[in-house]
């Protein structure tokens, strides 16, 4: 009973934390999508001079553990004179990671559309951006959306790590409530259920999209 009371009394703190988690994840998802799509296009269509440095950057970032990437940006960036504050730093680190994932997914999706279609589009007099929007994108999107939604769950899960650089997100507010109430188990379970609800919705969406697109033949 005491455990239930502890959870009930902690609801406002947890909701505030959840708000921060959603804010961080939401920002990262949008920024990561924009940046990642640009990088993905560079990988798929860019000249070598652009594609190779992008490939190196994407591979290096994907090789760094997310926690270490967060610490790296958190500690090294201020020393170079860029002091963004912990919130923007955390968002930057997670965005770098998310953009690298998105770039890889976008490259795969764009690559799944045969090059001949780009050439055919060009031959009918469309400019390259038009080909991209009217010919490539409608076909690439079904290869892009399911894995992209999965990468969004990675972002939500990864966002729990920002609690380690002083941001009071859902994870950190759980820790704070435990510090006050000494009721670890009920609070961890509550937190797990909240994260699960968000991510399960996303990953079910990913599976539903995959099933919906699976009948389309290439």
């Amino acid at each position: 009973m005491r455990a239930l009371e502890a959870v009930w009394a902690s609801v406002p703190s947890l909701l505030r934390g959840l708000g921060v988690t959603l804010e961080v994840a939401g920002l990262v998802v949008v920024l990561g999508l924009v940046l990642g799509l640009l990088l993905g296009m560079a990988l798929a269509y860019g000249p070598r001079l652009i594609a190779w440095p992008v490939r190196a950057m994407v591979d290096v970032i994907r090789g760094i553990p997310m926690l270490v990437l967060i610490f790296f940006v958190y500690y090294v960036l201020p020393a170079t004179g860029i002091d963004l504050g912990s919130f923007a730093t955390a968002v930057t680190a997670l965005t770098l990671f998310s953009a690298s994932q998105v770039a890889e997914i976008a490259r795969g999706a764009l690559g799944s559309v045969h090059r001949g279609q780009v050439e055919a589009g060009r031959a009918t007099g469309l400019r390259f951006p038009q080909v991209l929007v009217w010919v490539v994108a409608p076909q690439a999107v079904r290869r892009f959306l399911p894995p992209w939604l999965n990468s969004v769950t990675d972002t939500v899960k990864g966002s729990a790590l920002v609690s380690l650089v002083g941001i009071v997100d859902l994870m950190q507010s759980i820790q704070q409530v435990i510090g006050r109430t000494y009721e670890p188990m009920p609070l961890y379970i509550t937190g797990a259920l909240i994260y699960f609800a968000i991510n399960y919705t996303l990953s079910s969406g990913s599976r539903a999209l995959e099933a919906r697109f699976s009948h389309v033949r290439d």
Binding site: P65, V68, T80, G81, G158, L161, G191, A192, Y195, N199
Partner: protein, 220 residues
């Protein structure tokens, strides 16, 4: 830029980083060993077990895959001992968590691999009189292993990266080594300039080695 890089203190404490790296590799290795055994068993249950068991496996996989690793690590180390009388060190608790985490990802890998083994092969095994166990041992598993090796290598590298989370429990692995140097010498920038490439290089070195193993085992 007013910051002057000084790596002397990082090199002086380099032992913490090299031992830390070894510990990280050990944690990843233990987790993949336990995770493989558990993941394979659960995958077999999922492929050929009764409906209720299949549902249980799915519930386990979905639960673990949709909760942040950090929360699971806290839950096992701080949560469980607060309700059950168990006593384990931070290292043991992290290995248990990472193994359970690995198993949830490996179930999917092995399940896909088992389903990819052709029916023709299994029928052939039945035709020459192999029992169900023999077909599993001599036909399905050897073929499946070759199919799943690339995914297994990727999982291993990503588990190696996940070991950095053990630093929150003060397990003396690589990231904790970095934090120790950070708090004791304040050479924050330098230590992360060293540790970050160590992770990247080690991760790709492991991947390179495992890709060679894959080529060795590939069916010709």
């Amino acid at each position: 830029m007013d910051y002057h890089l000084n790596f002397t203190l990082v090199w002086r404490h380099f032992g913490r980083l090299s031992w830390g790296l070894l510990t990280s590799l050990e944690l990843a290795l233990l987790a993949i060993l336990v995770g493989t055994v558990l993941g394979l068993a659960l995958a077999l249950v999922h492929v050929s077990g009764p409906r209720w068991a299949r549902l249980l496996v799915t519930a386990y996989v979905e639960a673990v895959r949709n909760i942040p690793l950090l929360l699971l690590v806290y839950l096992v180390f701080y949560g469980i001992p607060s309700v059950v009388r168990v006593d384990y060190t931070a290292t043991t608790s992290f290995v248990v968590t990472l193994s359970l985490y690995a198993a949830a990802y490996l179930v999917e890998v092995f399940r896909a691999g088992l389903l990819a083994v052709g029916h023709g092969l299994q029928d052939a095994g039945r035709a020459i009189g192999l029992t169900a166990w023999q077909r599993l041992l001599y036909v399905r598993l050897p073929v499946m292993i070759r199919i799943v090796l690339p995914s297994l290598s990727n999982t291993f590298v990503s588990l190696f990266k996940d070991t950095s989370v053990a630093s929150v429990l003060a397990v003396p692995e690589l990231t904790y080594g970095a934090q120790w140097i950070n708090f004791n010498t304040f050479r924050i920038v330098e230590v992360y300039l060293v540790v970050t490439p160590v992770y990247v290089v080690t991760g790709y070195a492991i991947l390179f080695l495992l890709r060679r193993v894959e080529r060795q085992l590939a069916l010709r």
